[in-house]
């Protein structure tokens, strides 16, 4: 099988966003290559909605969510895909493709949370709705989100050769 990679390079950061985060924070606090001290804090209440747009269609294998173990880490995570203009109203009413109840160990140690790849075989955008947190408090914090998968087959233009060159 093909190797799975960190899809950070395929994420379209400009069209990705995090709703209900503190105003000064940016999506790159959690969608980044290396772990650092930046994170996203929820603002009005404890819910967070992360909309991830990909530059091309991908297959999603799994996801890693990193957070602190102090009770601010997210608990219930609902995953949606390929939605347009996804907001909190849709997140509450639509049926998610996947529902996960995260445990403390998974988020502090950065364990892979496996998806059913058959259901995520043609993903243009991924939407993660963190409905509540482990401690039940008003603030949810996330340190990093890593999406693991493989981009779908596309034409590799550099490999196209004219017939004459081959001769």
């Amino acid at each position: 099988m093909t190797e799975f990679i960190d899809l950070i390079t395929i994420i379209d950061l400009k069209n990705s966003e995090c709703l209900n985060s503190e105003p000064s924070q940016e999506i790159t606090n959690i969608l980044k290559e290396e772990e650092d001290t930046n994170f996203i804090t929820s603002d009005t209440d404890e819910q967070l909605l992360v909309n991830i747009q990909f530059k091309q269609k991908v297959k999603v294998h799994s996801i890693i969510v990193r957070a602190e173990g102090d009770g601010t880490g997210p608990q219930l995570m609902k995953v949606f895909q390929n939605q347009f203009s996804f907001g909190f109203e849709e997140a509450q009413s639509l049926k998610p493709t996947h529902k996960f109840k995260l445990i403390k160990r998974a988020i502090t140690e950065g364990k892979l949370i496996r998806f059913k790849m058959v259901r995520f075989s043609n993903v243009g955008s991924l939407h993660l709705f963190f409905e509540n947190n482990l401690g039940g408090g008003k603030v949810t914090k996330i340190k990093q989100i890593t999406v693991v998968g493989v981009p779908l087959e596309t034409t590799n233009i550099s490999k196209i050769q004219s017939v004459e060159e081959k001769k």
Binding site: P23, T44, F88
Partner: protein
């Protein structure tokens, strides 16, 4: 220059028939809308404005967000006065409209006019305020006509929706002679979001949102650099100009030349300036350092001043292109105009004029020769005329 998608909520309930704001509350809203939409789109051509009528059978999105001011004005004409205000549904519908905006990079904003007594509960308003904050939609409320009754509820809404001072409540009290649009313009809530460009009807001068050089380094460093350079050039011109003003006594001849050169020079300066904004900035009065001189003069005189300054900047080469025809024009004019000829006889005057012409060295041999020649010619002509007169 913030990218923004805006929906303006109009209170077209029966309470707006009230004439305490002339001509009535509804029409004063329409007035203000044209100002608001104009200034938003002036700040940034990509900004969009939509209109929603809050009252009636149901809230009606009269115009989906567009960046065409004309459409905004046409849409306002379609709104009828009817029914009662339905605030919560109106906000929800505008939320939907903003969510489906075409450019996701636009910040979302709602501008709401309230001119009827609110029947909604305070808790409901607080809830919807939090909802707006969660969806990162900022809201400005213009309350007028029923300000005391609504004050508490609306402040609660704003407090819940506010995150970092992006929401405002403007309460306009009822008193005689107040024009709503003026109050809105004066309050500055629509300039605060744009970084200092208030009342944006300046016809696109200064590239919208430019406020004396302070905004530029953050938004556009290259533009800031170029503007700085042109600022320094202008200062040098200014100092030179002040010297000229002391020397130059006769303006009439200068004017004749300059009016003909004006058009040609205008094109040249605009080409040679590295930034077309510079010239536009010259004409705005937002830079007190450079243009304290200009403020006292009429437009024509301003043009002349600017022409003088641009003339000084041109080197010899450029002057040759213009200089040669100029001198010819000078001579032909001087031949025809007796006043000019007499003036030429005055050496001091000639010297001062020559000083004001850049790139001309008054002690240059060629120039002194030509002047002497001209004098001789004039003298000869006078003698000829005298002879003729005597003969006749």
């Amino acid at each position: 220059m913030v990218l923004e998608a805006c929906v303006i909520l109009v209170d077209n309930s029966n309470h707006s028939r009230n004439g305490d704001f002339a001509p009535n509350r509804f029409l004063s809203q329409i007035d203000s809308i044209s100002f608001i939409a104009g200034s938003k789109i002036q700040q940034n051509r990509v900004n969009t404005v939509g209109i929603l009528a809050m009252s009636g059978r149901r809230p009606n999105l009269v115009l989906a967000p567009t960046n065409d001011v004309g459409q905004v004005l046409i849409a306002t004409n379609k709104i009828q006065i009817e029914g009662k205000l339905d605030l919560i549904s109106s906000i929800e519908i505008s939320q939907l409209s903003l969510k489906h905006r075409s450019n996701k990079e636009h910040a979302q904003r709602i501008i709401m006019f309230v001119a009827s007594p609110l029947e909604e509960k305070k808790e409901d308003l607080e809830k919807i305020g939090s909802q707006l904050r969660k969806a990162s939609i900022s809201i400005d409320i213009i309350s007028f006509g029923e300000t005391e009754r609504n004050e508490e509820k609306l402040s609660a809404l704003i407090d819940n929706a506010n995150s970092g001072d992006n929401c405002h409540l403007l309460s306009v009290p009822t008193s005689t002679g107040i024009i709503l649009a003026d109050q809105i313009q004066g309050s500055g809530i629509f300039s605060s979001s744009s970084g200092g460009m208030g009342g944006g009807y300046e016809g696109g001068f200064g590239g919208g949102g430019y406020a004396g050089g302070m905004v530029d380094p953050n938004v556009d460093p290259e533009l800031a650099m170029v503007l700085q350079m042109s600022l320094e050039e202008e200062r040098q011109r200014q100092s030179r100009l002040q010297q000229e003003n002391n020397n130059n006594t006769n303006e009439k001849e200068g004017n004749e030349q300059k009016q003909e050169e004006k058009k040609m020079d205008l094109e040249e300066t605009e080409e040679s300036s590295q930034n077309s904004n510079k010239n536009e900035n010259n004409e705005t009065k937002e830079e007190p350092d450079m243009f304290s001189q200009l403020e006292g003069l009429t437009e024509e005189e301003q043009m002349e001043l600017i022409m003088k300054m641009s003339l000084e900047e041109m080197g010899n080469e450029e002057l040759e292109q213009l200089g040669i025809p100029n001198e010819e024009e000078e001579e032909t004019e001087k031949e025809k105009d007796p006043e000019v000829q007499n003036a030429l006889q005055d050496e001091d005057l000639v010297d001062s004029i020559l000083l004001s012409l850049p790139g001309v060295d008054p002690e240059n041999e060629e120039i002194t020769e030509t002047i002497n020649n001209i004098k001789k010619e004039n003298n000869d002509e006078e003698k000829d005329k005298e002879k003729k007169n005597e003969n006749d």
